[in-house]
Subunit: 247 residues, 2 copies
Amino acid sequence: MISKNQAKFIKSLQLKKYRKQAQCFVVDGEKGVKEAIRSDFELVQIVCTESFAESSEALFPKGVEVIMASEKQLSQISSFQTNENVLAVLRQKPNQIPQIGASDFVLVLDDIRDPGNLGSIIRSADWFGVRKIIASPETADFYNPKVINATMGSFSRVSFGYTDLVELFSDTDAKVYGTFMKGSDVHSFSFAGPAYIVIGNEGQGISLEVERFVTDRISIPGVEGAESLNAAVATGIVLDNLSRLKK
Amino acid sequence: MISKNQAKFIKSLQLKKYRKQAQCFVVDGEKGVKEAIRSDFELVQIVCTESFAESSEALFPKGVEVIMASEKQLSQISSFQTNENVLAVLRQKPNQIPQIGASDFVLVLDDIRDPGNLGSIIRSADWFGVRKIIASPETADFYNPKVINATMGSFSRVSFGYTDLVELFSDTDAKVYGTFMKGSDVHSFSFAGPAYIVIGNEGQGISLEVERFVTDRISIPGVEGAESLNAAVATGIVLDNLSRLKK
């Protein structure tokens, strides 16, 4: 059974400071763990109930440490009270900035702070096949359990790296599309890669220092009187409009 | 200054049970309160700092009770630690089911459980002018502070009611569009009102008892390998595709 120290270590990974120290993160629940096993992330540990181990042991990669825990213990060390059968500890990957290819579209996040939004954006990017994502250093932590959980497994299928956006854009010939309240109608916009698609912060939108690199302003038409869209929803809509043109 | 009992009452409104008892709810922060003042919701109380009262008193409707509180007191009674200048207590409206008009589109939520998703959906519906929303009784509470906050003021511009969806659909001639993993491509779908647009639960999708009323299945095309979309993102994308056809 799981020891106090093991439980303490896994719980500590809820905090960015300890995740960074250990270069590890946690994936909760059956679905996420199965995606993690299929992915190229290094599996450090699997913690699960005996009944889960019995039914799923065949899936576990050879050599990975498997630790037994009761349902109660699992829900205590997990970030989610609803997790009662399995979690996995994975090794973080070194930070690497995805390179933009000849006709690529790369999603760029300018300070997306809400972990739920970040996870949901990664999930949409995976859905629409825009699997290179670059985030500003102030964006929420990719390895935050709320982010990982909200990706519904998509965390394992995208290339994601953090970098200073001014540096990134200072050194590129690619177009830089920005989403704004006013700009070209996304319904008739001619997306043409290579291009970066910048999504702004939830409250402030795209920052001034990033805005000066924007070559094309895009907006999602709405009716009068309404305020704005959630950042993750706006990202999904832009990617859906991009995917229409790929057909 | 705010009394202990007043503070206790406002804090109690974070829980559905007490919101229901008092038939009140709280709107936090300057933006939301200003939208609330402009709306047709009945204002019960405004709680704010003295400096906020000085700068904004002209906006307060006549006769409304204004209670002073320190920044610290406000952040203690608010659902959001970041709220430090104003909140309002509003009267709930009686539950009323929006009626579908001759060429209307009405959004129907089949057990959207996450308050953030619900708020984000209401915000998108407002943005795209689909301002009639009907929710199943199991859907998150419209008056939950996390919902109200996530709507970014849009709560005040939509008609929202709860009802049993089987009863609703048993008694209508309108079309019932449902979002599924497989169905007609939303990019080429001919939206034609009057129609209900049903959004399913985050995990389970549209329930079996609702599915049998669906006249048209719609889906959002994605690439292979990806899993699904967040319910609020999917709703935004469907509404954006609907709004294209209204042009």
